[in-house]
Each structure stands twice: as structure tokens, then as C-alpha cells.
Chain length 147, copies 2
DNA sequence: TTATTTACTACTAATTCGCTAGTATTGGTA
DNA sequence: TACCAATACTAGCGAATTAGTAGTAAATAA
């Protein structure tokens, strides 16, 4: 049970957009360089985030990506869920018909509750929280905004 | 981010041991038949559970497996953790040296907190809880012991 | 000593993951 | 209009992981 690099890179990508120093759109190329992640790979990842309406893209010279909404209004769940492909620990949660035991399975309830707990947790953390935490760590006075 | 079948089967296996009707050890063969899981595969899974001291095995005729402790004293975490191979969402949580960004990474803290939350949750659920839930579902009066 | 059961080891088909590569398309700029 | 800079799209692929199968060895009760 590992978080995919897609999700991890996706969150770092969004964080990079959220902390963009210069005004205007951020180049994927710059994010790739700063975060040491393949630009091509990032471009595949961000497609899903764009599809969910989290970022806005502009093509051509002086193009790039921008957050489509304020960072405070974007939760980690919105970022991670599409990248994991419907964050779902066990198939039978989203599709009960995928297992004949669904109706009477005691373990299914536990996985379902656990899944809900994870999604709820991710919903409580906004991109702005991450940005603040990031700035705190850079400030380097040892200050740590515990979540 | 899926739970492996190993973990899922492992929990069902332990549940089967916890609800064993007959006294004495339970045959893996019987669990395999009732749960519709390959006996060979189950035998690989239960090795890890035995190594963790959760079950006791006896060989030969009238052998089988028994819980090594009362179901009330076995938590889901104890079952799932060894089967997932140290349930850890992201490598850098257990091994900070695996990523150069560990010290200053804002996202790492979030994954760490999420990981802790998951383990804590699994720690709150005992095998006995599962057994009760299972019996409730079989009773079939529509009673559901929500977790 | 034989039948029954767990214990151990090796292999393998299928899937998923983490990318790379190439081309197309769009839009600003000269 | 021509060109360049950027995103958009599609295909493929090597490595790792997953979910088993298969076969043999060892222990033990009867």
C-alpha cells in the first residue's frame, strides 16, 4: 500500500504553482527543474489536474499553468483522488457488485470506514496549509506548523 | 493505492480462525473452502502471521491453526502490517535518507501524519470486533454494529 | 508406518508503475 | 505570415510488483 509517485509529484507540482514567485503563469519546465522531476512526466500528471478544474493552462509564449482557484480552496483530496484514479482501498467499496460477499462481509465495512477516514483527512488539508508549511520550513527558524 | 489481497485474505483468514465453530485447531483446507481462497496461497500468508506470534500451528493429523491470543487482544494493525511489509505510504517516512528532501519537505509531514492516522485506526479495531460484526451480519436481523 | 497436515522454495503469468519519445496543436511575437 | 515557445496527445516499454501455482520436505497423530 504505497502512494504512487503520480500523487506525490502531483502534490509537489501544485505546491510549486501555489508558491510561484513571479506573477503570471508558471512554466512546467521551471517546476521540473526546481523539483527535479521529468517535465514530460509532469505534463502527463497535470492533465488530470486540469481536467478536474484545479489549474488553468495557457499555451504559447509566456504560457504555463496557474491555480484555477485560491490555494485555500483546493484540498489535497481534490489533487490526490484523480491521480490515484478514485482513491479506493478496495474495489468492492465503490463497486459492490465486484464481490459476491459484499452484502455480508464484515471486513468490507472496515475497509470502507478506513477509506472514508483517509478521504476526510485529505479534505481537511488545503494547498494553502501546505504553502504555509513550506514557507515555514524555508524560514528555517525551526518553526514547524504542525498539522 | 490499493490494499493487497494478501492483507485482505489475511484478515479474512484470521476472522475464520476467530469464528471457528469446532473446538481445536482449524484446518487451512477448511478456511480455503469456506472463503474460496487458494489453500496454497493462504499457507504463504499465514506464515507471516505465525512469525508475528498471532497464530499457533500444529502439524500432522488433527493439526491446524489456532489464534495464539484471545481475539480481543489482536488488532487489525498486527495483522495487516506484516502482510503489507511495514505499512508505509511513502518510503521517506520510515527511511528519511531515501530522499534528500526529507528535512525540508512540506509534503512529507502530511504523508507521515496520514500514515500514523491509518496505523492508529487499525490499532483501534480488534479481531473480536470483526467477529462480533460478522456474527451480527449472519444473524441477519438487519442489525449492524457500526464501527 | 502411513495418512495428514504444515513448512519451505522456486517459478511464472499478468498487471501496474514510472517513465521516455515523438508528434500535434495552440498562441504570442516579430 | 513565419516562427518559436509552450501545452496536448498518444504510444510504447523496461522494471518491479502482485497474485498466484507447483512441488517437495518435514513433522506428527493414529
Amino acid at each position: 500500500m504505497k502512494l504512487s509517485t503520480r500523487s506525490r509529484y502531483g502534490v509537489r507540482l501544485m505546491l510549486a504553482l501555489g508558491t510561484g514567485e513571479k506573477p503570471g503563469p508558471t512554466l512546467l519546465k521551471d517546476v521540473a527543474r526546481r523539483e527535479q522531476i521529468s517535465e514530460k512526466y509532469l505534463s502527463q500528471i497535470i492533465i488530470h489536474l486540469k481536467a478536474k478544474g484545479l489549474v488553468h493552462a495557457s499555451r504559447g509564449a509566456h504560457g504555463g499553468y496557474e491555480l484555477a482557484r485560491p490555494a485555500a480552496e483546493i484540498t489535497l483530496r481534490e489533487i490526490v483522488e484523480p491521480l490515484e484514479g478514485d482513491l479506493c482501498l478496495v474495489d468492492c467499496i465503490l463497486r459492490p457488485a465486484s464481490c459476491t460477499r459484499s452484502a455480508t462481509c464484515a471486513t468490507r465495512d472496515v475497509w470502507g470506514a478506513m477509506n472514508t477516514m483517509i478521504l476526510d483527512y485529505l479534505d481537511t488539508i488545503t494547498l494553502e496549509d501546505l504553502v504555509r508549511k513550506h514557507r515555514g520550513k524555508l524560514g528555517d527558524a525551526g518553526i514547524d506548523f504542525a498539522i
